[in-house]
Symmetry: C2
Subunit: 437 residues, 2 copies
């Protein structure tokens, strides 16, 4: 049943049992309650109103802000009411465990995602997955349904790279540390490289710093037996195909770079074009070039952030510009090829323009393409067939990074996608109809 | 002697007399004292250290900040000590008047420039011109030298467009209002369009709001008989030509636009390139296009500011980008042609890219090309010949805008340029050797 050797070795008896026998418990979640809980908890961090309705806002619940801490504490109380044991690790990952009927010590099967949002995000990205896990636990309790092995959910600080504070570390940071990549030191968790609040100091401030090592290692950390993540698709494919469930086979690889172009500030009225070192012009050419290169490879290249010094002014050539470059493709070798071509093109642009600009770059995130566990994929596929019928689901590759990309390194993992309206995500108007749940 | 009819009509008897008779007073300023005063007053607002020496910093003395107010108050006290009468108008323009021996009521001949600096500016741009005026008044007092007609200086809030506060209005705002263009209402002086501090509220806060109408109109405001502005060249021409004085014939025309490109925020990993409305990519193409268009015309086009929403993040296509466009050429028709071609190219880019972006633009500043008064130019030329010899000065056109561009609309005006090291300006390391004074 399980196609990949590593996964088979890792797959605990608990999951193997449930996957091979469960053709559906017959128990259904209460989607109205899930919807209500989602909107109630989205009071913490709601922002970017786009309509008159009470829930017609997006979200700005940035990692470990006060609002984020509130929803984390609330959630802990909720699962404790259900009888779960809650464990928190040193990166703020929270694990809720509902003991199975066998009383086994095998690692639990977790449903997980993230509660924090983009600065200008919506109500479903991440949040739906965590609250869906809560709803499963509530439904089990309500129906007296108990799994044989332990089950629960996990959630940790996730989307923190671009918070205004700057000192908060990278995307999927806590599941990344749990998986052992990237190393905790590189993330600046303890503030070695930057002033201001650190992830650690923020966890302490909110009482969310746990005692357990953040690791998948059974000897020191909190291993998982398997990981399932429900998430909105964040793209248009399911909606356009008229499907209600996406069985996710894996995730495309991506690399995030920051490019810094250094010039020389000079008066725009008195400095001939040929005498300039103009980083804005050079960066613009680089962004245009990266787009053309990605197109040639059928890949994605995107610049979401462009930063100039605060002292930038209309009549002054800027001294420096930095911009982000996000390169994605389902095959790692294409991601690397696009990166190589971009950096080569950037170097040429830096040389040729005016009197030349300087070029520096850093690799901020490197997420290899991922194939999920065949057994977990089959479990999702079978459950989807049982719930919505064979013609209502399809297989997909995730365009975005998810915590599951990291968990899949150390336990069998799969994801379930649900459609989102117009494929819109990372946007206040992100919407997912509860009829899909 | 005066080539332009309008200028001849405006030229007061006082100036006509002095220009036709003064072959030099024989009195020389004290350049050491001027240098000392410059560095002493640059304590207010010094910033951007680049060397170990006490004066090796740039300046960040933004319009009507506390530091700017301090130097304005200090200067008022200094000229009052010299026996000048100080008048302040409703835009904060300050006029210091030393009565001439004739006791005439003719408007004074002013030496003027600005005291405020770029956010990342140097110690000479503007500041040198105001303090040179002070030095002239000090030298006159010291030597018992008195002009026949009134003489003095003027300075007002100038470089305020790009201050962080945003509510402070445009470049050369106070001399602009004095000249009747642009109208006071458009500048948001009283805060009609923007929240936060206004120029008026800041003037009030600092006790720098005067009772006199800000106008060149003799009936209500404070007319000038003539205006001379000493300024660093802010370009490399004098230095490269080995000249010590630039006799400025006029200023090139320029227009400042703000271009706003509206897109749709979307996930960079899940949104195909063809389905995007990506304002960063479109803006980059526009900046590249504007540079190519300017090159074709032998004009200048520069983007000094690029702004994204604070919520911009690496893995999100931005919702909006705005950027500035500064177009310059000595002939107005070329400035207009470049603007027209740019806007046409921008509209094409906005249509063609992905699913298209929106395009809006505003004209923030429109400064027509200026020819200074032939009589005043001749006066500068004659004085330069007398002081440094015929082979040490040359005629120039100013690349930058100056208060003199506005004063020249209503009184005979000319400018004197002195070389600056490497042509560098709008930069902390801006430097002008006192041997040139």
């Amino acid at each position: 049943m399980f196609g990949r050797t590593r996964s088979r070795q890792l797959l605990p008896p608990a999951l193997r049992h449930s996957l091979s026998t469960a053709s559906g418990s017959g128990v259904r979640i209460n989607s109205g309650r899930l919807l209500e809980t989602l909107h109630q908890t989205c009071e913490w961090g709601s922002a970017h109103r786009y309509g008159d309705g009470p829930t017609e806002t997006g979200m700005a619940r940035l990692c470990l802000t006060d609002e984020d801490a509130k929803v984390r504490r609330w959630l802990r109380e909720e699962v404790e009411k259900l009888g779960c044991t809650v464990t928190v690790d040193q990166m703020g990952n929270m694990f809720a465990r509902q003991q199975g009927s066998l009383g086994s010590s095998a690692p639990m099967t977790a449903m997980g995602s993230h509660l924090d949002t983009q600065p200008r995000g919506g109500r479903y990205d991440g949040i739906l997955g965590v609250l869906a896990g809560l709803e499963v636990l509530r439904t089990m309790k309500e129906n007296g349904f108990r799994t044989a092995f332990d089950i629960g959910w996990s959630t940790g600080p996730n989307l923190s790279k671009n918070s205004e504070e700057g000192a908060r570390p990278k995307s999927m940071c806590s599941s990344g540390v749990w998986a052992g990549a990237p190393p905790r030191e590189r993330l600046g968790v303890d503030g070695h490289f930057q002033p201001g609040p650190t992830l650690r100091s923020e966890l302490e401030r909110h009482g969310l710093l746990g005692p357990v090592a953040c690791s998948h290692d059974p000897a020191a950390g909190y291993p998982l037996g398997a990981h399932f993540e429900l998430h909105i698709e964040q793209g248009p494919i399911l909606e356009e195909a008229g499907k209600s469930v996406g069985v996710v086979r894996g995730a495309q690889g991506y690399r995030w770079l920051t490019i810094t172009v250094g010039g020389r500030d000079a008066h725009t009225g008195t400095t001939p074009l040929a005498a300039r070192r103009d980083p804005v012009l050079a960066a613009s050419k680089m962004i245009v070039a990266s787009n053309a290169i990605a197109k040639r490879h059928g890949a994605l290249a995107s610049t979401g952030v462009v930063k100039l010094p605060r002292t930038a002014s209309t009549n002054t050539v800027a001294s420096e510009v930095s911009f982000t470059l996000d390169i994605r493709h389902p095959r790692d070798r294409v991601v690397h090829a696009v990166q190589d071509e971009c950096l080569q093109a950037f170097a040429e642009i830096a040389r040729e323009d005016g009197r030349g600009v300087t070029l520096d770059w850093t690799l901020d995130t490197d997420s290899a393409a991922v194939e999920f566990d065949e057994g977990c994929i089959a479990a999702v596929r079978d459950a989807a067939t049982g719930l919505v019928g064979e013609d209502q689901w399809m297989e997909l590759t995730s365009g975005a990074g998810h915590d599951s990309v990291y968990t899949s390194r150390h336990c069998p993992t799969a994801m379930i996608f649900v459609p989102c309206k117009g494929g819109v995500s990372h946007h206040p108007e992100e919407y997912c109809s509860p009829t899909q749940w």
